[in-house]
């Protein structure tokens, strides 16, 4: 069973992020998804939204992502994906974004609001630069849209609509959808994963189970309780396994 865990760059701080990453890697997480905070996220629930705001208030700049990538490597992560919203790479320059993150050793890029029709050439540029563009699909998407996912090896599949941070039920239908895709793709599946039961139900059907806002909440709670980050995150991860 493979876990893909999620942290926000700039949250709670570089040091806090580093400790959380170390705890996650030591606890067995294989892939780390790092989110670059954006002021107007349209697919995140309240926890990630607030943590992103806190990161921006704390002065996070997009170029700081490279510090966080180094920290993640030092924590032992070899497989790192970077996620953010369209306006961040668009302002940075999509070509430069793709190329700089490739040079920094990032495995894949997720930009959920850049459409598969690829008007901004993000998917094309990423493939040219040998960094995987990871499109975001959703369970139950219509066949004519599924066709657009075919060229991509790695896929991020949302288990449902709504926002991150609320519970998701993993139905037989969901399992069937994922296992069909997994024949030809490397599928990362998640959205609202908060329990060992969900992880267990999902793991056989995907390359990696994605756990997102769960750890952001852990960090927020640790912050409020003034609890040590490493132990809090390690404890939260153990509960999932």
């Amino acid at each position: 069973m493979r876990l893909m865990v999620h942290l926000i760059a700039g949250f709670p701080s570089l040091q806090g992020f580093t400790e959380a990453a170390r705890a996650l890697r030591a606890g067995g997480a294989e892939i780390l998804e790092i989110q670059i905070p954006f002021s107007d996220p349209t697919a995140d629930g309240p926890d990630i939204t607030r943590a992103s705001e806190a990161a921006l208030r704390g002065g996070f700049k997009v170029r700081d992502i490279f510090k966080y990538l180094r920290a993640a490597r030092q924590a032992g992560f070899r497989r790192i994906l970077v996620m953010t919203y369209a306006n961040i790479p668009y302002r940075y320059g999509i070509k430069k974004y793709v190329s700089d993150l490739q040079k920094a050793g990032v495995e894949g890029l997720i930009v959920p609001d850049l459409p598969l029709e690829d008007e901004e050439s993000f998917y094309q540029l990423a493939r040219q630069k040998h960094i995987a563009p990871v499109p975001v699909g959703v369970v139950g998407m219509p066949a004519r849209r599924l066709k657009l996912l075919e060229p991509y090896h790695k896929l991020y599949i949302s288990l449902r609509g709504g926002t991150t941070g609320t519970a998701t039920r993993i139905s037989a239908e969901t399992q069937k959808f994922l296992s069909q895709l997994s024949v030809r793709h490397e599928v990362y599946g998640g959205f609202g994963i908060t329990s060992a039961r969900q992880v267990k139900a999902l793991a056989p059907f995907v390359h990696a189970v994605v756990v997102g806002s769960y750890f952001t909440r852990t960090l927020q709670e640790a912050g409020r309780a003034n609890a040590p980050i490493y132990q809090s995150v390690a404890g939260a991860l153990r509960k999932l396994l």
């Binding site: 349209t42 306006n87 459409p115 598969l116 959703v138 609509g161 709504g162």
Partner: protein, 406 residues
């Protein structure tokens, strides 16, 4: 129907929203040409919204300014107090036709929320309105009115807690329930097909002006002036004149308190860069990094960091001229129009009036200008009275608080 306007527009949304947007685009394409639908919509506009709204010859203003002969389009006389009802009725009717059971909408000033809540009440759909906490606090009368129409209000505590945050909250909420819910965007922005749809439903403003002016003057106007936040009233006024190249089109942005970031909402006039935010590509007030910046305007309805993609394209093509009006000029124009013509402009619309007061004296007396009073100003009494009559208003509020809570 174009998905892009030049380089602006598009449909930058997650896969999860695509089925709903495809369904909406197909429904709009079908019903916008359906005679029965259009007849039903026209009936609502006439008998419920009160259209056509009058085109008033502003005789006193014309005499005082000694420039162009000036008319004022009284959109504020439409039911619920602003042009917003045109689009709300159109989209609620469309939602009903494509089988939706409920409507969600964001609102800034509350005018679009009130119009949506009223249209839903009239047409029998459930309604939920998302409003930033700061907007809800400063527009409490509209919160009350929306509740009277039976709408449920969600207060948004994320981000800057104003309009853009309410838009984000709505988009998120929609992803979980798009199958039976229509998201009713009130401005000429958002992902395709919203900019097209809002222009379509608001174009009666411009079409009526054309017809009414022809009856009165037997000619086209020389200058049209409208305020511009997201752009629904301006594109509605301008769209039927876009091909009449001799008609000058002037859009007025919120100049706020000054030119520094955070002090205004002038996207075009401050040369804001391109961005992709909230599902569409346009010009956004943002940092070099692409983070959307806070904005300010005395009018909640113009206090927004983005602008409708078609308006951005028409600005770039220099078909629409953009100007700003400051908070101070706006309050002066509000007072001037009240005394001179007996019209209480909404603070949004008073931006158009403020710019008009500068432009009209410079035009020839053989020219004709039309100002769009997109809304009426009753709703702004807590802002205008606090600015213009602070002492008496403060005493009144104090008395009221004592009476209610004492």
């Amino acid at each position: 129907m174009p998905k892009y306007f030049g380089q602006y527009g598009g449909q930058y949304v997650g896969e999860v929203l695509r089925p709903a947007l495809d369904e909406l685009a197909a429904g709009f394409a079908k019903y916008s040409r359906d005679k029965k639908f259009l007849a039903e919509y026209a009936d609502l506009l006439t008998n419920y919204a009160g259209r056509p709204t009058p085109l008033l010859y502003a005789a006193n203003l014309t005499r005082e300014l000694q420039g162009a002969k000036t008319y004022i389009k009284l959109e504020g006389l439409a039911n619920t107090g602003a042009h917003k009802i045109n689009n709300a009725l159109g989209q609620v009717l469309l939602a009903k036709k494509i089988g939706k059971k409920q409507v969600i909408a964001e609102t800034g000033a509350g005018q679009h929320g009130v119009a949506t809540a009223a249209a839903c009440a009239r047409l029998g759909l459930r309604c939920e309105i998302f409003m930033g906490a700061i907007d809800a606090a400063r527009q409490q009368p509209n919160v009350f009115l929306m509740k009277q129409y039976g709408a449920k209000i969600h207060i948004v505590e994320d981000g800057t807690r104003i309009l853009k945050d309410a838009v984000n909250a709505c988009l998120k909420n929609w992803t979980a329930r798009a199958a039976d819910t229509h998201y009713l965007i009130g401005s000429a922005l958002g992902p395709y097909p919203y900019p097209d749809m809002v222009r379509f439903f608001q174009s009666s403003i411009g079409r009526e002006i054309k017809k009414q002016l022809w009856q009165k003057e037997k000619k086209l106007p020389d200058v049209l002036i409208a305020c511009c936040g997201g752009g629904s009233n301006s594109i509605g006024m301008f769209a039927p004149f876009l091909r009449n190249k001799k008609v000058r089109l002037i859009a007025v942005e919120a100049g706020g308190r000054g030119r520094k970031a955070g002090q205004h909402a002038a996207r075009i006039c401050s040369r804001s860069p391109l961005g992709i935010v909230e599902g569409y590509k346009s010009r956004f007030i943002q940092t070099d990094d692409g983070q959307v910046l806070p904005t300010h305007s005395v009018s909640a309805g113009l206090d927004y960091a983005g602008i409708g993609p078609e308006l951005a394209a028409l600005a770039e093509a220099r078909r629409i001229e953009f100007l700003t009006a400051s908070d101070k000029e706006v309050l002066q124009a509000y007072q001037y129009l009240a005394r001179t013509e007996g019209l209480l402009f909404a603070l949004e619309s008073a931006h158009a009036a403020a710019a008009a007061l500068k432009i009209i004296p410079r035009l020839g007396q053989d020219q004709i200008a039309v100002i769009n009073m997109s809304g009426r100003g009753d709703k702004d009494i807590f802002i205008t009275a606090a600015e213009l009559s602070k002492k008496e208003w403060g005493e009144f509020l104090k008395q009221e608080v004592e009476r209610l809570c004492g």
